[in-house]
Structures are given as structure tokens and as C-alpha cells.
């Protein structure tokens, strides 16, 4: 049997300890592991530290630190729990574990930087509990979502499911650009609107649905047509753009404005039973690299002319929402340089690759400084209007 003092003394012979000053000077950037309890880490953590409470250490360490030869520095409040936790990790085969003497208290008292994790309210913890369970989201990721600003071009077939899921996920600010009003013929697919909203502006109808779904979301209604003169100013405040527009003129304009402002854009488009989705990120290929020119209007019928299966935009719009959430969280691989093709009749997804075009007028070796000329003739809207419509 060992007393507490004996146990700690023995652990100190087996675990290397380092002081806050030594850790601050350490140029090897070790993995920082906070083994305190949730209510302790709420007050602040070392920047970049991962959190595994000591009570869950053995159960969660392989998820938090997969590499058993990783350089790991453990800390707690005062340096005792982290010392014992480091012993546990050694027993589990971790070869390079150290413990911070004096713990978080000594680090903070020494004037070294700490990071206060954003606080979620109790109501938010409950609402987003299924997100908080995912390591790629967690409280920090949920806070990113709540702070994110996403602009949706079009509150129609694609915009409806995108906006609904982004709102449900807690994206804190959603901008909606649409100049149209709800029509009965929209309701076969535009599920953010409803029968009692026929005649109402789509932006207002969408805002009502979003606010009813999640009061955390602030909605900016932009009841207007996106055009050459307002695009840059409209896009500027947002982190990323979700393009659910319905004509080529708008799509090239969205692309060019995002390229100039260096904002990611999530692209989705639909035709009858076919859907396409991809993500254009700054530095990667853009829409003009993929499709350098729009087809002539007679070959580019709109949904209004060609028809579309009502559930199809649900698939593509939700893929766009997922891409947007991943970009905000910095999780996974975006669909950059990859075009996802969906064929609803065959019920099959395919993926093809595309590359940056060095001669691209938008993002090529001589990048544009201002917006390129608009494709007004190429609009696939039934009555092409001057300026792009959503």
C-alpha cells in the first residue's frame, strides 16, 4: 500500500516535469492536454490545448492523441493530477509524456497566455448537444458556427434546404438575397416557404421560418437582385457564400465577386433529375475554370422551363449546407477541385476532378482586379432581365 505522498514521489521519478517558463520556451510545440474537469476549463485553457478530463483519460486518450510517440505535456490546476495522469499514459504505452509543475494556476500567474473557451448557454448546450458530442465540432466548433456569417444567394429550391439546415446547426448570421415573392408553384420544392405565405417576399417568408426554428440565428433580408453594382458590397460582411441561384449570369457574378474578395463559395445546381455540387476555395480552381463560358440561352432552360423533381434540390442544397458547415469548422475535405454529380433516376453519385486553368480570366495567372462583364444574354431565367436575378 502506498500513501499519497509515496505515490506522488514515485511518479516524480518516472515522469519528467517542466515549469511554465520551460514550456513557454519549448520550441517543439508539444501536444497540450488539459486533464481538468469541465467546470475548471470553462475559466480558461492553455492556447491550443486539448481537453480530456482525467476521469475519462484512458477511454478518450486514443481519440485525442493517436500517436503513442507524440510529445505530450499534461496539465491540471496545480500539477498533481497531471503527474498521476502522465503515469497512466506511460502505462498505456505513451513514450514522451511530461507534466506541467504548478499546472494552469502557475502558468496563468506567470503571465503566460490563456484562452477562454467561448461559453454556450445552458439552452444552447441542450439545443446543440448532438454537435457537442462530435470531436470535430464540440463547444469550440459550435461557437465558431454561432459566430459565422453565411450569405445565401437565392431563397428558393437550393436555398430552402441549405438555409434550414444552416439555421438548425446554429450558424449565427444568415444573409438571404432574393427579390422574388412566394408563388404556389414554388411549394413543390421550396420547403422553407408555406401555403399561407404565397405573395410574401421570399426573404421575409424564409426569415419567419428560420426564426421559428432557431432564435439564435440573425437573418439579414436582402430583398433585391444581385448585380454588378451591389455584389461586392453585399458579399463583404460574410465569411462564405452559398450559391443557390438559377441562372448563369448570377453564377458567374457570384464567382467573380468571391474571387476578388477571396471568399469560399459553395456551388449547387439542378436540372430535372440531375444535380451538381462543388466548392470553390480561394487559391483553387473557380467556376470559370470549370465552365469557362455559359451555354447560349436556348440551351440553358431554367427550372421554370425544364422542370425539376421537387426532392432533388433537397439533396443538393443539403450537400451545400454540409460543405458550408465543414468550411466554418475547418473539418474534413471540401469538394474543392471535385465536382459531385448526382443522378436521381439512377440514384447514383459520381465524382469528377477539375483543375485550375492558368489562363482563367478570374483566378488565373493574371487575376482580375474588378468584376468581369456580366452575361446578361446567357441568363436562363424565363425573361432575362438586365442584371442578374436570384
Amino acid at each position: 500500500m502506498q500513501t499519497k505522498a509515496q505515490l506522488l514521489k514515485q511518479a516524480r521519478t518516472q515522469v519528467t516535469e517542466l515549469s511554465p517558463a520551460e514550456l513557454a520556451r519549448d520550441g517543439t510545440s508539444p501536444v497540450l492536454l488539459d486533464v481538468r474537469e469541465k467546470q475548471e476549463t470553462d475559466a480558461g485553457m492553455l492556447p491550443g490545448a486539448r481537453h480530456v478530463p482525467r476521469g475519462f483519460l484512458e477511454l478518450r486518450i486514443e481519440e485525442a492523441v493517436a500517436d503513442r510517440n507524440a510529445d505530450v505535456v499534461l496539465y491540471c490546476a496545480g500539477g498533481t493530477r497531471s503527474l498521476l495522469a502522465a503515469r497512466t499514459l506511460q502505462e498505456m504505452g505513451y513514450t514522451r509524456v511530461r507534466s506541467l509543475t504548478g499546472g494552469y494556476g502557475a502558468w496563468k500567474d506567470g503571465g503566460f497566455p490563456v484562452e477562454v473557451p467561448p461559453r454556450l448557454t445552458e439552452a444552447q448546450r441542450s439545443r446543440y448537444s448532438r454537435h457537442l458530442l462530435i470531436p470535430e465540432v464540440g463547444e469550440a466548433g459550435q461557437a465558431k458556427l454561432l459566430a459565422a456569417k453565411v450569405l445565401l444567394v437565392g431563397a428558393g429550391g437550393l436555398g430552402s434546404p441549405s438555409a434550414l439546415y444552416l439555421a438548425a446547426a446554429g450558424v449565427g448570421r444568415l444573409g438571404l438575397i432574393d427579390d422574388d415573392v412566394v408563388d404556389a408553384s414554388n411549394l413543390q420544392r421550396q420547403i422553407i416557404h408555406s401555403n399561407d405565405r404565397v405573395g410574401m417576399a421570399k426573404t421575409e417568408s424564409a426569415r419567419k421560418t428560420i426564426v421559428g426554428l432557431n432564435p439564435d440565428v440573425r437573418v439579414d433580408e436582402h430583398r433585391l437582385r444581385l448585380n454588378h453594382d451591389n455584389a461586392l458590397q453585399l458579399f463583404e460582411p460574410y465569411d462564405l457564400i452559398v450559391d443557390g441561384s438559377d441562372n448563369f449570369g448570377t453564377r458567374y457574378l457570384v464567382n467573380d465577386a468571391c474571387t476578388i474578395l477571396r471568399k469560399p463559395q459553395v456551388h449547387g445546381s439542378i436540372f430535372r433529375f440531375d444535380g451538381q455540387a462543388t466548392t470553390f476555395v480561394p487559391g483553387g480552381p473557380c467556376y470559370r475554370c470549370l465552365f469557362p463560358e455559359p451555354p447560349p440561352p436556348e440551351l440553358a432552360p431554367s427550372c421554370q422551363e425544364a422542370g425539376v423533381l421537387g426532392a432533388l434540390p433537397g439533396i443538393i442544397g443539403v450537400i451545400q449546407a454540409i460543405e458550408a458547415l465543414k468550411l466554418i469548422l475547418g473539418a474534413g475535405e471540401p469538394l474543392a477541385g471535385r465536382l459531385l454529380l448526382y443522378d436521381a433516376l439512377e440514384q447514383r453519385f459520381r465524382e469528377v476532378k477539375y483543375a485550375k486553368d492558368p489562363a482563367c480570366p478570374a483566378c488565373g495567372s493574371t487575376p482580375m482586379r474588378e468584376l468581369l462583364a456580366e452575361y446578361t444574354e446567357a441568363s436562363c431565367a424565363v425573361a432575362p432581365r438586365r442584371g442578374a436575378v436570384t
Binding site: 428558393g156 421550396q190 439542378i270 440553358a300 421554370q304 465536382l339
Partner: protein
């Protein structure tokens, strides 16, 4: 050698509504030529008057954009899949 050509919805009116057709061809050009013989009207949708691939249509040999290869001269092997991907803009 037989290759499978995947026809997108906007072009299916020209292929008697077939979503996949099998043609013979050692290059993309040869495959497009045979496709055009079988289905009049298709060639104009894929190629411009100079015979170049239209800038709103992409052809992929399996998963790869032929523009990143040898363009229409890209060689095909038996069993390859040629996917025609036109720009579509619908969203509303």
C-alpha cells in the same frame, strides 16, 4: 474498343432518352464522332464549328477532365467511361 458514354439529362432528348450508350473509339474524338453518327444533333452540342469542345461542356475520361490530358486526342481504353458534364444553372 467499347467505351460507355454517360449522357446527362439535358442531352437525353437526342439519345432517345438513353442515359448510357456504348460506342467504339480509340480516342475521345473517335468516340464523339461515332456518337454523332448514331445520334444526329449531339455533335453540335458538344463541339463548336471549329471542332473544339464547347466551353460550357466538359468531358471526363473516367474521373479525369480531358482538358488536363490531351483534349479530344486523349486515348481511350476498353471499358473506359466517358462522362459528359454540361453546365447547368438551375437552383430555384
Amino acid at each position: 474498343m467499347s467505351i460507355t458514354v454517360k449522357i446527362p439529362a439535358p442531352l437525353r432528348p437526342l439519345t432517345a432518352n438513353q442515359s448510357e450508350v456504348v460506342v467504339e473509339g480509340a480516342t475521345v474524338q473517335a468516340a464523339v464522332d461515332e456518337l454523332s453518327r448514331k445520334f444526329p444533333g449531339l455533335k453540335e452540342r458538344l463541339l463548336d464549328e471549329k471542332g473544339a469542345l464547347r466551353r460550357y461542356v466538359n468531358l471526363f475520361r473516367n474521373d479525369e477532365d480531358i482538358r488536363g490530358g490531351a483534349g479530344l486526342a486523349t486515348a481511350l481504353a476498353a471499358g473506359d467511361r466517358l462522362t459528359i458534364v454540361p453546365a447547368i444553372a438551375g437552383g430555384r
